[in-house]
């Protein structure tokens, strides 16, 4: 992960000396007898020609190739009279003169750039270079990698370079070198190393026993990691369920209102995110903050809709839960179609900020996706905030008082109508927060909410109505069970099995995991 690397120059050498070193290294490679100038026009040719030119330029080791190859990989290389030129800095160029590449050229570029950037002053580039060479696995890179490794100080990059070196050694004609490579790769816990080893096994009958042993060693180390990753997937699904269900835990659990429009509130939260992003797109200072800014916006928008719905409609139907169910279902239909008419039926694009993209490496090399890690944290934060709002604030106190005994609360001067509206708005606002999170993993379309509503109800019923702890444990249990079942039952059957499981579970405990007991709960 680039952000974890210190930028700057860890070696304390000036860049001039680096370039000198690079030249020195490359001069040590066998010369190809190809001239730089004759190769460059090939970059503007057909894909096959491009790939060849890139490979040769990488092998040639002429530092002049580096900016050209970099530009090519970033779609900034342009066709020019008799050759190519690099587009000036600024917005991405467009038009027919931009040189397009395909995957084959990209693979070649990765290897070539790897060679050229291995001693770059930028640690991120050195890391990418090491990864590029790992995939290239060419014996020709061995001296290059050994030299780079000798100078590398950042442990993380060293580890990647060692992997790349091990992979490069597998291509050596000398069996002893190959064996050393196998041993080096077998000492890691890297799936890439495993793939490289397996690829080598097919071409190298003599060493297949060594390879098998190395693969088995990696598999042992990977098993823990895979279990951890499955657990993470379960927690991630659980956090999505938790977010979707939390609002219900308030409106259904506390107020007893079945809000079938809850899913649409989630959807509106997601659309609010889209609107905020589009509104801030023009402002360079605010645009990177659009997602955090969408959080209060989504909360307020859905809370306002919730409050309006409670005061305007639901209020008239207290004590008639089945009618409320129908009414809120109707509200959901109307909201969905209105959004469809206003925003169109197509998916809306939501941009993930850079810190929510890619993977994050935890201790023991467990990799998790950033967006899902953030969503887990976000879900827990929302849960904590909900808990605090109910337990620690005046509003929470009044809310609990009204729930326990509306009449006495009213006689004590609590405006119960206002508390109802606020409670419902609060639950709806949490649905909006769920929408912000879901916009980062699901598509933002008018149907967004429908797929979550039944699952959320299941979480609340399973966890125990009215219990935040139950909702938390219910959501994570369902998420993890789902993910454990998925590999052997398939995604659909896993879900069906979980639904049936809940239906059977509430036979044994009709009030859910964390039931409120006593007379108050029964009436």
């Amino acid at each position: 992960m680039p952000a974890s690397l210190a930028s700057g120059d860890p070696h304390g050498t000036s860049s001039l000396i680096r370039w000198f070193l690079l030249l020195l290294l490359l001069a040590a490679l066998p010369a190809r007898g190809q001239d730089f100038d004759s190769l460059v026009p090939g970059l503007a040719g057909g894909f096959t020609q491009q790939a060849e030119a890139v490979e040769r330029l990488g092998a040639l080791g002429d530092p002049r190739a580096l900016p050209l190859l970099r530009a090519l990989s970033e779609s900034r290389l342009l066709r020019a009279e008799g050759g190519v030129r690099v587009a000036p800095d600024g917005p991405a160029p467009s038009g027919p003169e931009v040189i397009r590449i395909n995957n084959r050229v990209r693979v070649a570029l990765r290897g070539a750039l790897g060679r050229l950037q291995l001693v770059s002053p930028d640690p991120a580039e050195r890391l990418a270079a090491a990864d590029g060479l790992l995939r290239a696995r060419s014996a020709e890179d061995i001296p290059l990698l050994e030299a780079a490794l000798a100078r590398e100080a950042v442990p993380r990059i060293r580890a990647h370079m060692e992997l790349a070196l091990g992979a490069a050694r597998l291509g050596s004609p000398d069996p002893a070198v190959r064996r050393a490579g196998i041993a080096a790769l077998g000492g890691t816990a890297s799936p890439e190393a495993r793939a490289v080893l397996l690829a080598a096994r097919g071409t190298d009958e003599a060493l297949s026993a060594d390879v098998n042993a190395a693969v088995a060693a990696i598999d042992r180390r990977l098993s823990l990691r895979r279990a951890a990753e499955t657990a993470f997937q379960g927690l991630s699904l659980g956090s999505v369920l938790l977010l979707a269900a939390l609002g219900l835990a308030v409106t259904f659990g506390v107020m007893g209102v079945i809000n079938m429009a809850h899913g649409e509130f989630v959807m509106i939260g997601a659309y609010t995110t889209v609107v905020v992003q589009e509104a801030l797109r023009a402002s360079p200072t605010l645009a990177p903050w659009s997602l955090p800014l969408a959080i209060p916006a989504a909360f307020l928008v859905t809370a306002a809709i919730g409050a309006a719905m409670e005061r305007g409609l639901i209020r008239h139907l207290y004590g008639r839960p089945l009618e409320t169910l129908l009414l809120t279902f109707g509200v959901g239909m109307v909201l969905q179609q209105v959004v469809r008419l206003v925003f169109g039926a197509q998916n809306r694009e939501v941009i993930s900020p850079p810190w929510m993209q890619g993977t994050l490496t935890l201790p023991f090399d467990i990799t998790v996706t950033q967006n899902r890690a953030w969503i887990i944290l976000f879900a827990l934060a929302v849960l904590a905030a909900t808990f605090a709002a109910i337990r620690l604030t005046r509003f929470g106190l009044e809310m609990r008082a009204v729930v326990q005994n509306r009449r006495i609360a009213a006689t004590m001067g609590i405006r119960t109508g206002r508390v109802d509206a606020l409670t419902f708005a609060f639950g709806s606002g949490i649905a909006g927060l769920a929408g912000v999170a879901l916009s980062q993993i699901d598509n933002v379309s008018p149907n967004l909410g429908t797929s979550y509503i039944i699952d959320s109800f299941m979480v609340v019923v399973f966890g125990g109505v009215g219990s935040l702890l139950g909702t938390l444990i219910g959501a994570f249990t369902l998420g993890v069970v789902n993910k454990l079942l998925e590999p052997w039952a398939g995604a659909v059957l896993a879900k069906v099995a979980v639904l049936v499981g809940i239906m059977l579970f509430i036979q044994r405990r009709p009030k859910g995991l964390f039931a409120l007991k006593g007379r108050a709960a029964e009436s």
Partner: protein, 245 residues
């Protein structure tokens, strides 16, 4: 020992760590009229819930005529001959007075039996007699939803009578009644006892005095005192926890 009447011994009910009933014991002989009093939260209603099968005790024995009540469904307990009148009158608003009583009338209670049920002359006259007894003759064809509060209480008592129970549990029958109605009710309940056991839960001490029966005082889920109303009122513990408040 437990062959006849109602027998509770060591009954304990726990809600979330709170002991609603704590080793409660109670014996009601056949034909006996018994009043149960106690402050709010003493466990009176919970005791009735245990007897009628609504709540399962954590431990203890509850028997009626030798049947273990803690293992039976509410409907089965009702069919043993235990009738219950709730604190809040619960009659079926959508049905007429006549139909309410017809439902309560002792008859086969399965779905198919109900589908094939035809009102016989004997059944009709039994229902009419009860309507007479509770003074709702003129309202026979009115939906119960239209009755006054007092009339609903009476209808519910009528339904209890139609069930022909051996034991009646009556929860605060006179709450919200006028003085006149209260006196009438006391007379009615006293009249019912003798053929059947009656357990009355009440707050109103004047009413309990009017019943003129043995009184059990509950406090914090356990029996505090038992005896005549005068004996109970003289008990210093009772004075402290209940009457003294």
């Amino acid at each position: 020992m437990s062959g006849e009447g109602l027998y509770l011994d060591g009954v304990t009910v726990v809600f979330d760590g709170f002991r609603a009933l704590n080793t409660l014991s109670l014996l009601v002989a056949p034909g006996e009229l018994r009043a149960v009093i106690g402050p709010n939260g003493a466990g009176k209603t919970t005791m009735m819930d245990v007897i009628t099968g609504k709540t399962r005790p954590a431990s203890g024995i509850a028997r009626f005529e030798g049947h273990d009540l803690t293992r039976m469904e509410e409907s089965a307990i009702a069919n043993l001959g235990i009738g219950r009148k709730f604190q809040k009158p619960t009659v079926f608003d959508a049905l007429t007075v006549f139909e309410n009583l017809e439902l309560a009338l002792k008859a086969p209670r399965g779905p198919v039996a109900c589908l094939r049920w035809r009102l016989s002359g004997a059944a009709r006259s039994a229902i009419e007699a009860t309507m007479e007894q509770v003074g709702l003759r003129e309202r026979a064809d009115d939906p119960a939803g239209l009755l006054s509060h007092g009339q609903r209480q009476w209808l519910e008592i009528g339904m209890l009578l139609m069930q022909d129970p051996k034991l009646l549990l009556v929860d605060e029958p006179v709450a919200g009644m006028t003085d006149h109605e209260t006196a009438e009710t006391a007379r009615l309940l006293a009249g019912i006892a003798g053929d059947r056991s009656v357990v009355v839960v009440e707050h109103d001490l004047d009413f309990v005095r009017a019943l003129g029966c043995r009184v059990t005082v509950l406090h914090e889920g356990t029996m505090l005192s038992e005896g005549s109303i005068d004996h109970v009122q003289a008990d210093p513990r009772v004075v402290e926890v209940y009457l003294g408040r």
